[in-house]
Symmetry: C2
Subunit: 388 residues, 2 copies
């Protein structure tokens, strides 16, 4: 008995293990069923554990745009679902598959209780509304994970027994693939949550630390914003220079660039009168203190470089090491421009804020002396466009 | 032609999608091959992207304990691997499968260049050392992901053509399952890394904040340690009370319990003489300040409760809300005992440290007044055992 679509569907199914988005996976499966097996339409009712309902995904077949109202999802207690969730109903049909024919035979069967007949009747009513002639359930362990609903064959003929067997095996494989995709997605969501938790906690702690310094309210947020914009501009100009990993390191480094100020006494940070040389030297320790605080965290290696060197200057007059020109890492050069621009445009104890245009001019003038020419160029472009 | 093991192996393979540990997966696969298909031994050479080598996993079959030295892994340039990595060698054999027979025929074939013959000879030499009669490669995209090596059939007969076809299809499915497991494992590793990054960064920032307070060096680390030990003891006594999520929340809450001190001026924190009522009230704000700092972080909800209420007392004399008895959340009650015990046993500006035994007695005496009786009981048990 030739089932010519079998190989093709099996091959399609094989590669689906690596489709880790449940939605894409289901759409691909039902599309393949319709296209390869010559079925008018196919759909899947998939269990959503969060909403505790079975959500309908539909093929692009002939049923599209005419799904009955209320069928976007079915409740656990809807007859069609309940019929397949109750184990004793399943044993009536070969390999758990329910066809319209077998259902009608079963209804005439004396073995069925009147309660079971009534449930089957209600289930068939729902199946018919979805123009379904075959229902194939897939169980994960003992739970109904999904229910495949097939329409008629496009050639008008009845399904062969071997075809139904094959669909049943396929549905079981697909259930595994769907479950796999769900687990994958869950893990991705967890990873994303953990990332958010890390970023938000860091932001909260940095904001609390920043609050000790009366003159820097919102400074960290603005510097982080400026830094990321400059980096994205540099990426657009030369993709190779900047990748996702760099952007993440820069994000963290910008958030933490002044964390070392926690090691400077409050009375120096908030002093209104002129600082002594000794006090100024204390403040200049903050990049090194910041780097020291984070040193045990290997994953922050690149960020630490940004924190440690964000007060270096190309002419060698910066601190802590007096690095020159290209010796200064890009990540630090970006923070340097962002940091200085924000410092210039906000009030400080020893001077009022510069106007925005004055600050931009000042930075342009200091390119190659205090600031990296490459970073200054990107910064100027953003300013001229009004993006920054 | 009956291949009676086929169904069993197919069923085994199906459920393997959900085995997400690559090592377990491979061991299960080769075990199933040996047991179900009646092969003397089977093994897999699996590509390890980090080490850039092919690592051998062996069945428990007859080859065990006699793998030739140097075969625990094969280099990319080892002949057996190179033969399958070079695409032009593959086309000589049906479905990429190399059998000893087909190889010997190929060596007599005039089409092969002398270079190809030499490589095949070297590959066969390695295969024979592993007592392999059939090699089945699995490619992911164009890369050799793994190479299945089969020993002789236990009944001494030659492999049937249909059997080889089946193994080839199975190997391809298995390659997908292995790839899936690897991706899953990679994601789990990333999640774990992100968790470590979050914890380490929090610890580093908390240590930096703590350093502002001259009298609390190492306090946070000790309180965290005590809290977790008490919680684990409570879990042993009554599993329902404490789950993994609670332990994680407690861990974070313990680390951050004094984070609100960042909002208290340094001169109050480090004052050597007696505090005024006003100064004492400022210090009493730290649980609320801590909760406020972290409030935007929804994931930390349970931890925030621990931070906010860790100075409440069952007799209602605590702060910030004067909660009584059972009103005080367990997470806060645990930190309260851990925090007080550490404070009692370390020097403070206003008094020297108590001896350990004195502190334990003091806490026992204050059970139900200052400390939760439940937590005190667990704490006392740990102290008596010498665990704490």
């Amino acid at each position: 008995m030739p089932i010519d679509f079998k190989k093709e569907l099996e091959n399609a199914a094989r590669s689906m293990i690596l489709v880790h988005d449940p939605d894409v996976l289901i759409k691909t499966i039902i599309r393949a069923l319709v296209d390869k097996a010559g079925i008018e339409h196919a759909s899947v009712l998939l269990y959503d554990p969060k909403r505790q309902t079975y959500v309908l995904s539909l093929s692009g077949g002939s049923l599209e745009n005419k799904v009955p109202i209320g069928f976007a999802s079915l409740d656990k207690d809807d007859p069609l679902i309940r019929f397949f969730r109750e184990r004793n109903n399943r044993i009536l049909f070969k390999k758990d598959i329910l066809t319209l024919d077998s259902a009608e035979k079963a209804l005439k069967n004396q073995v069925l209780t009147s309660r079971a007949k009534s449930l089957l009747n209600d289930a068939l009513y729902q199946a018919r509304l979805l123009e379904t002639v075959v229902c194939i359930p897939s169980y994960f362990r003992e739970d109904l994970l999904c229910l495949f609903l097939l329409g008629k064959k496009t050639n008008g003929k009845a399904f062969l027994c071997a075809e139904l067997d094959f669909f049943s095996a396929l549905a079981s494989n697909m259930a595994m693939a769907i479950r796999n995709a769900q687990l994958f997605k869950d893990l991705e969501i967890e990873l994303n949550k953990k990332h958010q938790l890390f970023m938000r906690t860091t932001i909260a702690l940095v904001a609390a630390i920043e609050a000790k310094d009366n003159y820097t309210h919102g400074h960290t947020t603005r510097v982080t914003n400026f830094s990321l914009q400059i980096a994205k501009r540099l990426k657009n100009k030369n993709k190779k220079m900047i990748n996702e990993k760099f952007l993440e390191s820069l994000h963290i480094a910008s958030l933490l660039h002044d964390v070392g100020k926690i090691g400077i006494p409050e009375n120096i940070l908030n002093k209104r009168s002129a600082l002594t040389v000794g006090e100024r030297n204390r403040i200049k320790e903050h990049p090194l203190i910041g780097a020291t605080i984070l040193k045990p965290i290997k994953e922050l290696e690149e960020s630490i470089v940004g924190i440690k060197y964000h007060h270096e200057r190309p002419d060698g007059s910066g601190y802590p090491e007096g690095l020159k020109g290209e010796e200064i890492p890009l990540i630090a050069s970006i923070i340097s421009v962002a940091d200085s621009f924000d410092a210039m445009t906000t009030d400080r104890p020893y001077r009022p804020a510069l106007y925005r245009d004055e600050a931009v001019k000042e930075i342009a003038k200091l390119s190659n002396l205090q600031f990296s020419p490459l970073v200054t160029e990107a910064f100027m472009e953003l300013c001229l466009e009004g993006t920054l």
